[in-house]
């Protein structure tokens, strides 16, 4: 079978997909802006960023995309973790001789297996077996496969995935993190109305590059282009009758921030790694609890306190 390569640039990581040439391979609309190079041959000349992304001139991650869950090797062992409610699971993680094996179900029909994927961290290689989608296309990164892949990237690099919105006003990058309903999207909307760029209003990847932390968007279900901004301020907003600025200190604030990071706690090394990243961020970037009245006045309120 012939394969061709597709390259994605996500959060300045280069992901190389090897896909069967004789099938329609589908990346949904959310990926449009992230497809960088149509062929491996033109990779280096056309992508200066590629050289920056990997000193060894290799992709940060390789993914071999295969057809059919039934064709996956039956090598997995005991279950390590599952993302489940009381009755169903979206995905399972199993032991595998070379790393881990994921069984990922269709997010809209949880009883339907969508992918069986193997990750070999030594080779930084995924082998993803997927059943064809309703259109007869191979859709190897269909949700939630890509977020899972990005999660594992974040366990091997100075990176974090976090539930947060991020905005950049041309001078400062600000992140607003919290559980659903605290006002992440509202804050992003207010900044956008004032002319700032919204990096994303729901999920960000944070990366430390050359000593500085950056925030990136990642592909969502809607079309977007890759965005990044330096990170200068972190806010933990909550609804309050008045605007309130409470600069955090110490471990308690770091833990509040870490609670919003995307984690699979089954692996102690991953938690340890992410804890190290959070403490590094907390040492570099002020983290503030922010009582919010959701009007434009809060933007002035924030800027005044930042410069105080």
């Amino acid at each position: 079978m012939l394969y061709s390569n597709i390259h994605l640039s996500i959060a300045d990581f280069i992901l190389e997909l090897s896909v069967p040439s004789d099938l329609t391979f589908e990346l949904d609309g959310g990926f449009e802006g992230y497809v960088m190079v149509p062929s491996a041959e033109s990779l280096v000349p056309e992508r200066p960023a590629f050289v920056e992304a990997s000193a060894a001139n290799r992709p940060d991650l390789q993914m071999n995309c295969h057809v059919g869950c039934a064709n996956a090797p039956k090598t997995w062992g005991k279950e390590l973790y599952r993302a489940a409610n009381e009755t169903d699971a979206l995905w399972y993680i199993y032991e595998d001789p070379n790393g881990i094996c994921l069984h990922v179900n269709d997010s809209e029909e949880l009883s339907r297996l969508q992918h069986i994927a193997f990750y070999d961290p030594q080779q930084q290689l995924w082998n993803i077996y997927s059943d064809l989608n309703e259109k007869g296309s191979l859709e190897s990164l269909r949700y939630p496969m890509l977020p899972l892949i990005l999660y594992y990237l974040s366990t091997e690099h100075q990176a974090l995935l976090i539930h947060a919105s991020g905005v950049f006003d041309g001078t400062h990058g600000r992140l607003f993190s919290g559980f659903s309903g605290v006002g992440k999207s509202t804050m992003a909307g207010l900044w956008q109305a004032s002319g700032a760029e919204v990096i994303n209003d729901d999920r960000l990847m944070l990366r430390k590059i050359d000593g500085h932390w950056w925030m990136y968007n990642t592909p969502m279900y809607y079309s977007d282009v890759p965005k990044k901004a330096p990170l200068h301020f972190i806010y933990l907003p909550y609804h309050h009758p008045t605007n309130l600025y409470e600069r955090g200190k110490g471990i308690q604030t770091s833990m509040r921030f870490m609670a919003h990071c995307i984690q699979h706690g089954y692996n102690k090394k991953h938690v340890q790694w992410h804890l190290d990243q959070v403490m590094d961020i907390a040492n570099q970037i002020p983290i503030t609890r922010l009582g919010v009245v959701p009007t434009m006045d809060v933007l002035t309120f924030i800027k005044e306190h930042e410069s105080a």
């Binding site: 390590l80 973790y81 471990i251 833990m255 509040r256 870490m258 609670a259 984690q263 706690g265 089954y266 102690k268 938690v271 340890q272 804890l275 190290d276 403490m279």
Partner: protein, 95 residues
């Protein structure tokens, strides 16, 4: 007290630890999930004890380790150690 020490030793693997300055941060892993709302911080001496508890330790061996690291009266160390170990066990058992 040797039983308490052994219980603490056996619980250690269920915690993620990080030194921050002279303090040690402990985060419990419960049902394969790290619980960031139930963390514990230990001071310098508590961190030393956590780091140096080994299987088979008893009060005397721990007091000896502590007195080797910190200049302190053995009897005072013993009393403080007993209080600390009981409190630590209570916290770990609840998690």
């Amino acid at each position: 007290m040797k039983e308490v020490i052994q219980q603490i030793y056996e619980k250690k693997e269920h915690y993620v630890c990080r030194h921050t300055g002279e303090e040690l941060l402990l985060i419990p892993l419960k049902d394969n999930v790290a619980d960031f709302n139930q963390y514990l911080t230990l001071n310098e001496v508590g961190a030393f004890i956590w780091d140096h508890i080994e299987s088979g330790d008893d009060e005397a061996s721990l007091v000896a380790k502590i007195c080797l690291e910190f200049e302190a009266d053995k009897n005072e160390v013993l009393i403080d150690l007993q209080h600390f170990l009981e409190k630590l066990r209570s916290f770990l058992v609840i998690q």
